[in-house]
Symmetry: C2
Subunit: 434 residues, 2 copies
């Protein structure tokens, strides 16, 4: 096999194949990624901790040993709310400066057991919330990369690493993917085991993936679900797409509306059945419902930090905890029940369509890095526990990436990856960074 | 207020009232509990770590300072799978000997913020699973106290501490409560925040409480749900009880059958409406379904330990991980879906009754301490995510305690505590240790 691009631009699956074939060493690949980081990190600030020697040592161990699994020798980034036994886990908070957990988070351990090199930890907003770090958008350093998986989005988009883990409680995987022009995937709630994750809000927190290529998500999905690696395939029947503007359509900027419309037209032209998909009235409470759960559960999960380290908690998170503490348990339980009702209703509504298309985010990445953007368009689906993916779908008026979001029913993760493959390959929605 | 019993026998709510009134100091209470431990721990082996000086320092700080909350000055025990920042958290595994987490688990932090003294950590089976520690049953040291919250059950039953935290993935709170003759309460899944819990199986793991008195559970429940403290009250309407033998009735020993029958008769005599409650056929798959989820999720949550410390994992847990790794993701997802279907079906079935009565466990605590007993009668309800409580309901042929289990619909936690109060006060089911 010959390699027709700079090594740091290789995708995860492609690199794994090259390493397995002997055409590439893990050390060469990791060296290339570290070189890219060396060149660009001063501007991007995507990594909260990275130790080149440790990364190279992992790579050399892969090269020296027998194949360990599907990810043998390929580097990945890990959002810094996921525990790693050999690197700090600081969670974007000064409270945990230098903390070294005793273990790897489940997803990190499973990736490592499959041969992955943990390249480093990527910058997260404070406790996967709203207060961002210093990361900038690779397309324009004056703009946010989105959050809270800020470093994972920026590092993947800037070709520093082919894939990175994120977590999504509101829109923390899909929004940075959309803003940075890469693919973000949040599986069905509960799919990737959460042992070793610092909880933000446990009824919402979902581990997800950011990558440049769909095959790479499918490969990592196989590893984290202990399944055979099967590349996405075209759906066997005509794809039925529901176009879901959602009750948030008034927040969609022209760039996001146009991206959705272009994607829908392309899908129709390529042969999909397309129909309008309207969420019934109770769904319009889901944004507020998600905020209730988020605030109450954050207040509880941060009870220790609230007692012992309150002065080190940001004003934004302080506000969230205070709102959570002021919410009655009855309100909290009512929010849980409404969310469950909507999940079951949506299950039924999916009888008439295979997947939905919806906006990924309000629009392009906003200017400045102090605000990581509005999580509404992603948070709705997070609360509904459905698998969802953001695909790059063109540029907005400022030349920044804009995404389109595809959603499948709960447990329809494979179906979602297949439909996304079809949308990219047959309907020509970009599906990867320009 | 005068105190009419030895201090170590005080309940949590009673002690909190006495401390608040000035009739008792935290130091005196903690000293009494430590004295009981000193006298009995050689036989019971209920504590994995306890530091009397540290416990007394917490007590003195309470006595010296302003009231902190509902639990001001009262001691509690904490199962050793729950993180504590000031004590080791070893999870019943030699892998984590001496581990000191950076934080308190959410429930520990919330209890501390309400004024509780963390007396020490209680013995758990290995990673809250099947391989027990050295704890013995306070009623007969040749018998198991049950598990995996072995130390919490034994310490509370032996009057070492008025209340202790446990976790239940199968039957790990209710079975030790039943075997030790105390009350075990597992709230609706997700009720007590799980930040800082080492996951066994995250779709099942539920933090629960073990105490000698119902009021004590209600008080701690208020603290952990950030609610006002309201003692259990009689239901306002005639209690409708469904008698549920379950598909496991063939496993119920005569002692458990008799305990259920006595409780039902007493409830009927006291005025409850009683009817038979039969679980539909799909429910009979729930024991196997729970095992699938347990094995798959344990295999994933222990991925780090499996890679790095496999020789320190017990044969029983090794078998569980191996079964989990051999289970396909499709089987796993089918198990999740069946469980959800049964939960919704049970919601509907609860239209005709307020609570169910069912066996707590197979029977009396088995002989020996190498096997912590069969989790089937508790695990069914754990998987269904419903709140459930085990009440002492007499003795078996060996003079060992036998319990009866009461179950309410999901989110009906308060209703359950009220119905249990009625059953104890009006129907005369013991409700506390003899």
């Amino acid at each position: 096999m010959s390699i027709d691009k700079p090594l740091h631009q290789l995708g995860l699956a492609e690199a794994a194949r090259l390493i397995a074939s002997g055409a590439l060493t893990s050390e060469a690949l990791v060296t290339a990624c570290l070189g890219r980081i060396e060149a660009r990190e001063a501007v991007l600030q995507a990594w909260s901790s990275i130790d080149p020697e440790h990364a190279l040592a992992q790579a050399r161990a892969c090269d020296a040993g027998p194949p360990r699994g599907l990810l043998h020798g390929v580097p990945i980034g890990v959002k810094d709310v996921l525990d790693t036994f050999d690197m700090p886990t600081e969670m974007g908070s000064s409270i945990y400066k230098g903390l070294r957990p005793a273990w790897d988070a489940s997803c990190v351990a499973m990736a490592r057991a499959a041969g992955a090199v943990i390249l480093g930890k990527t910058v997260t907003c404070e406790f996967a919330g709203m207060a961002p770090g210093a990361t900038t958008n690779p397309h324009d350093a004056s703009r946010t990369p989105g959050g809270s998986s800020s470093g994972s989005g920026a590092a993947v988009a800037d070709f520093m690493v082919p894939l990175a883990f994120g977590t999504q409680t509101g829109g923390s995987v899909l929004r940075p993917a959309s803003f940075c022009g890469v693919i973000g995937f949040k599986p069905t709630f509960g799919t990737y085991n959460r042992a070793g994750v610092k909880f933000a809000a446990e009824s919402l927190d979902t581990i997800g993936l950011i990558a440049r290529e769909l095959d790479d998500l499918a490969l990592m999905n196989a590893v984290l679900t202990n399944s055979a690696a099967i590349a996405p395939a075209f759906p066997q029947t005509r794809l039925r797409i529901g176009v879901c503007q959602t009750y948030l359509w008034h927040k969609a900027e022209p760039a996001s509306r146009a991206a959705l419309e272009r994607s829908v037209s392309a899908a129709r032209d390529a042969g999909a059945h397309v129909e309008e998909f309207v969420l019934p009235p109770p769904f319009s409470q889901l944004t507020e419902t998600r905020e209730i759960l988020n605030n109450v559960e954050r207040a509880r999960s941060l009870a220790h930090e609230w007692t012992h380290h309150r002065s080190q908690i940001s004003p934004a998170l302080t506000r969230s905890v205070e709102l959570g503490l002021a919410t009655s348990d009855d309100q909290y339980r009512a929010a849980l029940r409404l969310a469950e009702w909507c999940r079951l209703e949506l299950d039924t509504m999916f009888n008439s369509v295979d997947v939905l298309l919806a906006p990924s985010a309000n629009g392009e990445a906003p200017e400045g890095i102090a605000y990581a953007g509005d999580p509404s368009f992603q948070g709705l689906w997070t609360l509904l526990h459905v698998p969802t993916i953001s695909l790059p779908a063109g540029k907005g008026p400022h030349g920044m990436p804009v995404g389109v979001q595809m959603i499948a029913p709960r447990y329809g993760d494979r179906k979602l990856l297949d439909a996304a493959h079809w949308l990219i390959a047959r309907a020509g929605v970009h599906g990867q960074m320009e």
